[in-house]
Amino acid sequence: MSRMVEVKDVSKSFDGTLAVNAVNLVLNRGEFLTIVGPSGCGKTTLLRMIAGFEVPSAGEIRINNERVENIPPYRRSIGMVFQKLALFPHMTAAQNVAYPLKMRRFEPAQIPSLVDKYLQLVQLGDYAGRYPHELSGGQQQRVAIARALSFSPDLLLLDEPLSALDKKLREEMQLEFRRIQQELGVTTINVTHDQREALVMSDRIAVMNEGVVQQDGTPVDMYRNPENRFVANFIGMTSLFEGTVCATGDGVVSVKSGNVLLQARSNDKVLPVNTKVDCAIRAEQIRIVEDASVYDNSVFGTIEHRIFEGDRIVYTVHVEDLGGARLHLFDHDPVSHKEYPANERVRLGWNARDLFAFQAPQSN
């Protein structure tokens, strides 16, 4: 596979603050990468540097094997969909889609058929003559993506374009974007703070925090094998508590937390005895059990509160034995209709392979 984008040791500082800190990313032709992270993590700055709206303070960016740091945006072959779409309000949908073709001096005779092709692609063939304010939110989205793709750019950048939509429409558009991306095979970088969107749309995910890429991998990998506490906590609904390693085995460690001994997974990292660790467990991996023998780990706790979400119930359980940790868990037993009231004492169980142990950051 050939490389389309290569970001090498790229940093960007604003007034002495590092927004992006020595980031490395490689993107192959046709791949869909989502950069996900909380607001202010540097993901948008990174995207704007790739687009050419910001110049890196240090490092190299290559697109299609060409250094681009000092090439202005209008000379790069990049289509970008902005968070607020930035459609041209004085132009019709067709004129919006034709704009990059005109600016990039496409053969004038070719333009109408290309405009038509891309409006068809986003299923807006009948709306060519409408102005942006005459279109619905979802339709505007689709004009924006047609406009970003009509000139066949090397790279498509999406700067949280779906964040303003309501949930249902957003989920529809996620699938729509993915369909178009796969149909055209265009290399795409998507930026979002929505971890669900990252999991649903991408071939690969890069999780960013505080200007640093924390982990880079496939959605499944990112979910099943988080490399650190931040990634484990950011993706999925995760409970965290602290502990100390007291025995170490093959991929499995014994962790003492509060006054219980737990079996946890060390994720191929060497964690010597007495290492301080952060333990992380996903809400769907914990069960309320009668019989603990099925599970590697088991604790008693008191239900603190209960949120009914229709398809599932979210319990927060206070576990005195784990140093007073609060564990969140999902109960989706649709058959028994069983609900535990608040203050009920319950037994929780989970398996060693679902409890992650990460070396705690050194406190100084």
Partner: protein, 315 residues
């Protein structure tokens, strides 16, 4: 501690409830819909009075001055309009005023746009503050004071001529001519134009400009195809305001023109107060109002009402 807080919040709510009750007693809810209309009243009254004045002027313009009594004759006639059409000096003044209005408004809008754009787009708070102060300072200094300021700088013994004299160069005639009036007017109108263009530029999202750049347009193309069309309402609004203000200006031609380059307003003033001919003055005023209205109406007709910032409701 916590108890105190609860009591305090409760007191707060009670206080707010009390205020609300007081307000609703003084101003019952059923009046609420009419608040807007009531607030409109002063403006409507002011314009109404203006219309009455205009009515009187129309009436005056159709009466000839009786030179034996220096009062307007009772019978209606078109004598005043005939006099204006007859004397070339009025045509000259009219042409001079219209040409000045055109030159001043085009130049001012041209100069105001970059200033407004910079004011909106600059990232530096310091630059923005400087531009804002420089924009509002002239408003605190009246037109007459500013015109005299130019006399001090451009006059026979003014700053520039003393400088030229010091260099052994001949003195220049920098005032009491048409260009100096135009110059003074442009300087006077610039802040008005900027103020009218700023909101139009501010309404253009910066993302739209970035999008254009990302789609392959350099800044010249972006300016031509995106910024200019989107800022058009502001530019036309500024043009119209500067045009009408120049058309009716009195102080600049009077002071910087020194009687050599009278505008219509000066001719009207002279008719009323030098010749004591209210009929002639009223007729000149009518012509000015007509010309101004026709031109403004034509611009709005061609450019659409969006120009006024009053957009038709979008669906």
């Amino acid at each position: 501690m916590q108890r105190n807080q609860i009591i305090r919040t409760r007191l707060g709510w009670k206080l707010l409830d009390g205020i609300e009750r007081l307000v609703s007693a003084l101003w019952p809810a059923r009046f609420k819909g009419s608040v807007g209309r009531v607030l409109l009243l002063p403006a409507v009254l002011l314009i109404g009075i203006l219309v009455i004045g205009l009515g009187y002027m129309i009436e005056y313009s159709f009466h000839e001055l009786d030179l034996s009594t220096y009062r307007l004759k009772d019978e209606y006639s078109l004598v005043n309009y005939a006099v204006i059409a007859d004397r070339p000096v009025y045509m000259r003044v009219l042409n001079r005023t219209l040409l000045a209005a055109l030159i001043v408004s085009v130049t001012t809008v041209f100069l105001a746009f970059p200033y407004a754009y910079m004011l909106v787009r600059t990232r530096s708070a310091l630059t923005r503050k400087f531009l804002l102060i420089a924009l509002f300072l002239p408003f605190f200094i009246g037109q007459v004071v500013r015109a005299y300021g130019w006399l001090i700088i451009l006059g026979k013994q003014g700053l520039i001529n003393s400088l030229l004299e010091g260099l052994g160069l001949p003195a220049l005639n920098l005032i009491y001519n048409y260009p100096s009036v135009i110059f003074g007017l442009i300087q006077y109108m610039l802040p008005f134009a900027i103020l009218l263009i700023v909101p139009a530029v501010a309404a253009i999202s910066e993302d739209v400009e970035l999008a254009s750049e990302g789609l392959g347009a350099n800044w010249i193309s972006t300016f031509r195809h995106i910024v200019l069309p989107l800022a058009r309402p502001g530019l036309i609004g500024a043009f119209v305001v500067v045009f009408t203000l120049t058309l009716t200006d009195f102080a600049m031609p009077e002071i910087l023109g020194g009687g050599t380059t009278d505008f219509i307003a000066s001719a009207i003033y002279d008719s009323f107060f030098q010749l004591s001919n209210a009929g002639l003055g009223a007729a000149l005023s009518m012509i000015l109002v007509m010309i101004g209205s026709v031109i403004v109406a034509a611009i709005f007709y061609l450019a659409g009402t969006g120009t006024l910032g009053v957009r038709e409701q979008s669906r």
